[in-house]
Subunit: 443 residues, 2 copies
């Protein structure tokens, strides 16, 4: 089976009907987030790389057809019309790293209706999940206010693949490293991490553990100092580092207790030992709220390691995303369900300075002073930009993120109770919406 079976069954039943009815005209679907979680002032577009990889490789093969037939208890012949379907359409998207708001399409796909439908579940999955995590990580960057951040989330993400993406998305927004070896290797980002409490416990004493570690690892080392008693641990670390002349570039890590207070004590102990260049790293279930509090308190912390809560976006682990049909065979389409109406037609987002965004129609002229956010990224089923290495794509996304973040209004940047800017509809989109709605209501 290919990734084509990583789908909700209803995409298959719908595609079967479309094929039977000869409804294979071009359809445009728009993928967007209906409302931001209350704790978000913005979102960071992400997941596009995997979405495009999926579209480029999409093909319904014989094993997929077998799986569909089995799932539906239908003869294989009934599914035969799906065999060989590929994505031969167009995709327009907001590039990864760009900031987006509610109601702004992140991705628009145009393809023959059965195929545009079959790819829904996978596209929603990648874009929703990765945008949620990237947005959480971006808030850590805001909270850290220039202090380096590293990703320690792999042990509690929703699977190891989700851990890979947490590392990738941390790097996308500017994290300085990750503990995740597979991700660091694949992406060319620094791998970080040295020892766990279990290491210290495995030796007869903390000092013996530190000395053994230093024997194996030349150069800078990081000692975890809170296994038994943090202050005594720091004193022991200082003694070992000084004895061995290993201060420069080395660090101690605090993983429990009142980190602000303990960092101050540790800093004092290190400075008194002539180890002013030994850094203090903190970890232990931290998120952007903790980092913000610690940074504002002025605690002498050099590096923040964030983990679980960021890797699962604990306070907003999903987004209210949608993949909606907005045009079929040249006709704009919309849905009217209670509270979930969608505007019709292929769209563009026009960003005016200060995030005064206007969602308009894709064929509207770009208003003066505005910048369109969606770019054509696939044509005829192939990527427009052949792409480079994962590392290069990541660097480009990081540059976009950094530029967009710099212009974000202060209210949206707040860690506590942020206020997200809201996009408005263009006159033309509003007029089309009214026209389609009255046509539906009257029809």
């Amino acid at each position: 089976m290919s990734d084509a079976t990583a789908t909700d069954l209803y995409e298959v039943t719908m595609a079967m009907s479309y094929l039977r009815e000869g409804m294979t005209g071009p359809a445009t679907f728009s993928l967007f987030v209906r409302a931001l979680p209350p704790s978000r002032g913005f979102l960071v577009a992400a997941g596009l790389e995997q979405a495009l990889d999926f579209l480029g490789a999409f093909r319904v093969g014989p094993e997929d057809v077998d799986a569909f037939a089995a799932a539906l208890h239908r003869p294989r012949a009934d599914l035969h019309p799906l065999l060989g379907l590929r994505f031969t359409g167009e995709a327009r998207a907001v590039p990864e790293g760009r900031l987006v708001l509610a109601d702004e399409p992140l991705l628009e796909v145009t393809a023959p209706l059965p195929v545009a439908q079959l790819v829904e579940t996978y596209l929603l999955n990648q874009v929703s999940h990765q945008t949620a995590i990237a947005s959480k990580a971006a808030r850590c960057i805001l909270a850290a206010a220039g202090h380096p951040l590293v990703d320690f989330s792999l042990r509690r993400t929703h699977g190891v693949r989700a851990g890979f993406h947490a590392a990738r998305l941390g790097a996308l927004v500017g994290f300085a490293g990750t503990s995740n070896v597979a991700a660091a290797t694949a992406l060319g980002v620094p791998a970080v991490g040295t020892m766990a409490h279990s290491f210290v416990e495995a030796f007869a004493s903390e000092e013996e553990a530190f000395r053994a570690f230093a024997r194996t690892h030349p150069g800078p080392v990081t000692f975890l100092v809170d296994t038994y008693d943090t202050e005594r641990g720091t004193e022991t670390a200082a003694r070992v580092l000084r004895d061995l002349g290993r201060g420069p570039g080395s660090a101690i890590r605090l993983d429990s207790g009142d980190l602000g207070r303990l960092a101050a004590r540790a800093r004092g102990i290190l400075d008194a030992a002539g180890l002013a260049d030994v850094r203090v790293i903190v970890s232990g279930g931290l998120d952007e709220y903790d980092v913000d509090r610690l940074v504002r308190s002025g605690a002498p912390i050099d590096i923040y390691a964030v983990g679980t809560r960021v890797g699962v976006a604990a306070d907003a682990p999903y987004l209210d995303s949608a993949y909606k049909l907005v045009a079929y065979d040249g006709r704009p389409v919309m849905k009217l369900s209670a509270k979930k109406a969608t505007a019709p037609g292929p769209k563009q987002v026009f960003r005016h300075p200060g995030y005064a965004d206007v969602v308009g129609l894709a064929d509207e002229p770009v208003p003066g002073g505005a910048r369109p956010l969606l770019e054509t990224v696939m044509r005829d089923g192939r990527r427009v930009d052949a792409g480079g290495s994962q590392g290069r794509a990541l660097a480009a996304a990081r540059a976009r993120f950094t530029a967009d973040l710099a212009e974000l209004p202060e209210d949206a940047r707040r860690i506590e109770d942020p206020v997200a800017p809201r996009a408005v509809f263009s006159d033309r989109l509003s007029a089309l919406t009214d026209r389609v709605r009255s046509g539906l209501s009257g029809g």
Copy 2:
């Protein structure tokens, strides 16, 4: 690269030190959850199947060594001692589906120290993530009070692999089906789902959409009735079902609005049309709180589809899990960090009736009337039970879950403000803890 690189870097740096120091004696690590989320009255053990698959296949290959060397900026030769390491140890575990509480080991691994350390990240990832999702799904089973539940989560889980596990874990606790084709096929569970709003919108009218769908799909069909107006949609569905004689086994689905009220109206419309056997399915961001409310209200709903919030365990998307060294080379070991002390020694959980659980030492005799929860699942790096199909393992886990749930105290079963039973330590474990603690404090 193999799954061996799906690890935090510090496992590698520690393993290197252990090998250099000749510390290759047997180590036991215990994987447990320190505290339950406030909204949980119990946990469902899960992730064990993937954990054991990982251990059975674990092997540090040449490409892994390359990745480790690159991550550490060390010559390949420095990593050579890790090449070829395999898991040749023992694993004891609580089988999947069993209910567990805070402080109760879900998995204990005994192996030469470097290997037992290297497998930490992956084991924590699988067991934490899957136990979190299974526990959320189990609460839906409680809330549904006998009504069938189906899984619609794939579009917003943290990647498609996480979606596969959400489907698997739903099936484990007794969901009747999943929308996920890949999971349904691999696990032999029913696949469910029929049409989206976009399907209805793609046709000139709702009625035309329903008729086209019925033409393609013989037998029972499910019509989504809330694209434009739910009551009119239900009337249209009733008309089409009656015209075509397709009532028996068919259903309508409500996906928005006040589901309890709309279900009552829909039921009335269907019954008046002589379609008493057409079922009402509800969906749309539901979790156990919504299901509980709807079931208690007596709304005439036949099937509940739960999705995103269950698939990401939205109110508790991670668990406070730990993988702690409890013995090395025959010596019990513990950690004393602030608020995170761990009890020493390999353990067993003795369950007395009514979830009066006692955490004791692995070599304690089983108290009268109690049942031990951990079983030996791997010996010499091989599974004790060679295992059958995924489907058979799932059925066995479901049987354990159903039996355990039936005995769970009422307080722990509550959807709102549940109270989890707390395990106590046995006298022997308490005595050992005191002995090791005083040895450490004095040392």
